[in-house]
């Protein structure tokens, strides 16, 4: 996904003189050709994430459309107040693009894990958040985000599904288990594991790469009494929006995602997915437990 981001951003910088890119060393070498062509609009501030977002706010105040990029925890957690004040409070907007996701760099340890990013954006107002599930989803998403006016966050990951699913982020039914089935909503790269996990179960599966704004109209149209959320970041991140969307209906909700425990283990992203119960086996265990009362 990072390669597609670099290629698309490099093209956008050439196409639209309003576009600017702010970096904090991460991916700087990949953008070296763009920096050579557009030295005034490709700005690497060094390892200074607070400044990176502050600069983006200032650029936006002069009318530019900044894209801001680094590892998820450094972009969103370290510079959270700059996102809140230097962008939102100034009524300035930017497109923030992270790599690393929840545990792509598992071997790097806790410092490079970013499972809380989407939850942090959820404390703010008006952000569009995309978590694509395949590299081929990235170019169109990024172009749409940059062309729009508001602030948006693009969460890139090395994990992905076998096939891309396009669309604007409205829920897309990938498997229809018929009337009365539970509805599983998979966000981004967890779709394939969710499909494997629910094979043969009375569960319809819908996909989105856009957790914010969540497609609540689609949810209301598709959901019956049981809803299962599978998100590739902090478990329960979208519980609030699902509960609010279904507040007038009796329903049960299972929210799966990355747990809050610090494992203090390295390993691979696949290992972490398993430990967090987000591989197909773990998801199936959680989902069958959740559905058991209804299956009896």
């Amino acid at each position: 996904m990072r390669d597609r981001f670099v290629d698309t951003t490099t093209a956008l910088l050439a196409e639209d003189p309003r576009t600017a890119l702010v970096l904090a060393d991460i991916s700087a070498s990949a953008f070296a050709p763009a920096a050579e062509r557009h030295p005034d609009r490709v700005l690497n501030v060094g390892i200074r994430e607070q400044l990176m977002v502050g600069v983006a706010g200032g650029l936006a105040l002069t009318g530019l459309r900044p894209i801001v990029h680094t590892y998820a925890p450094f972009l969103v957690e370290r510079a959270y107040e700059q996102i809140k004040l230097d962008l939102d409070h100034q009524d300035a907007s930017a497109v923030l693009v992270s790599v690393g996701a929840s545990y792509d760099r598992a071997e790097a340890g806790r410092t490079h894990l970013g499972p809380a990013d989407v939850a942090l954006f959820d404390t703010l107002s008006g952000w569009t958040v995309h978590a694509p599930g395949h590299p081929d989803e990235v170019p169109a998403l990024l172009r749409a985000m940059v062309a729009a006016e508001g602030s948006a966050y693009l969460r890139l990951s090395t994990l992905h599904n076998a096939e891309p699913h396009g669309g604007d982020g409205a829920l897309v039914v990938v498997r229809d288990a018929g009337p009365g089935a539970a509805l599983l909503v998979a966000v981004g790269p967890v779709l394939d594991a969710a499909l494997d996990a629910t094979s043969g179960l009375p569960v319809s599966v819908a996909y989105t790469h856009r957790p914010r704004p969540f497609d609540t109209a689609g949810l209301r149209a598709l959901a019956d009494r049981e809803v299962i959320l599978v998100e590739p970041y902090l478990a329960g991140t979208s519980t609030r929006v699902v509960a609010a969307a279904l507040a007038d209906r009796p329903h049960r909700l299972l929210a799966l995602g990355v747990r809050r425990e610090e494992w203090r283990r390295y390993g691979s992203a696949t290992d972490h997915a398993r430990w967090h119960g987000l591989d197909a086996n773990g998801l199936r265990r959680s989902i069958t437990d959740f559905l058991a009362p209804a299956l009896v």
Partner: protein, 242 residues
């Protein structure tokens, strides 16, 4: 400084600026009987020199891409700022009478979306210089080479590490259309041994340190940038005038 001396300083600043209401009257409207800390006064002289003699901003050009930008980073220093904005016609003097009220556009920290002529909302310290660096870069990227970006900070505000990210980077890239103004009233808890200007000059800024009450000296310093590097003006005022 006693309240009596404070009042005397306000009176000293009483000269009408441009035929509108005298600044002191406007300050008294902001004060509205409250006990002001002396922070109003520490920035007032610098603000007067900026708005009278330096900044290319008028109420008619608050949205002009070619205007100078003034960013008040120490957002608590609003009383003098609001009085000046009223004196210069950016806001109606009536706005001064209800600062912080439920229907007021003027808070104890400024909000750029509510006040014409205010470039940034501030209050949390350490945000203005980064925004100023971005603004200066944005102007440069669009070929707007006339406007200059001025950011007003306090010496205690420099405690915030975010400023030092901005100082180092602006110096490294020779951001020549940026001026930082630090009102130094020796209020930083641990001080700046060796002088706070050295934090800037070590990173390639030009710097001038002047008596923050001397309007001529402040003006000379504010216009003393030579066009190739970011510029710092340290306006020294009495200790304790926050």
């Amino acid at each position: 400084m006693t309240m009596l001396a404070t009042t005397a300083r306000v009176a000293e600043a009483a000269a009408p600026l441009d035929g509108r209401e005298p600044l002191t009257t406007l300050l008294e409207r902001v004060r509205a009987g409250r006990e002001f800390g002396p922070n109003v006064l520490s920035t007032l002289d610098v603000l007067q020199v900026l708005y009278d003699r330096v900044l290319r901003i008028t109420p008619a050009t608050v949205d002009d891409p070619d205007r100078d930008r003034f960013l008040l980073s120490k957002g608590h220093a609003v009383a003098g700022y609001y009085a000046l904005l009223a004196a210069k016609g950016f806001i109606p003097p009536d706005w001064l009478d209800d600062q912080g009220g439920p229907d007021s556009r003027l808070g104890d920290h400024p909000d750029r979306t509510l006040i014409p002529g205010v470039e940034i909302g501030s209050g949390s310290l350490g945000h203005g210089l980064g925004l100023g660096v971005g603004t200066a870069l944005g102007l440069r990227a669009q070929g707007l080479l006339t406007p200059r970006v001025y950011v007003l900070l306090g010496d205690a505000e420099l405690d915030e590490g975010s400023n030092h990210e901005a100082i180092a980077y602006a110096g490294a890239v020779g951001l020549a259309n940026l001026t930082a103004i630090v009102v130094d009233n020796s209020s930083a808890t641990h001080g700046w041994p060796g002088g706070l200007a050295t934090r800037f000059t070590a990173n390639g800024w030009t710097a001038a340190t002047v008596d923050g009450r001397d309007h001529t000296a402040v003006h000379t310093a504010l216009t003393g940038h030579h066009g190739h590097r970011p510029h710092l003006v340290v306006a020294v005022v009495e200790a304790g005038e926050r």
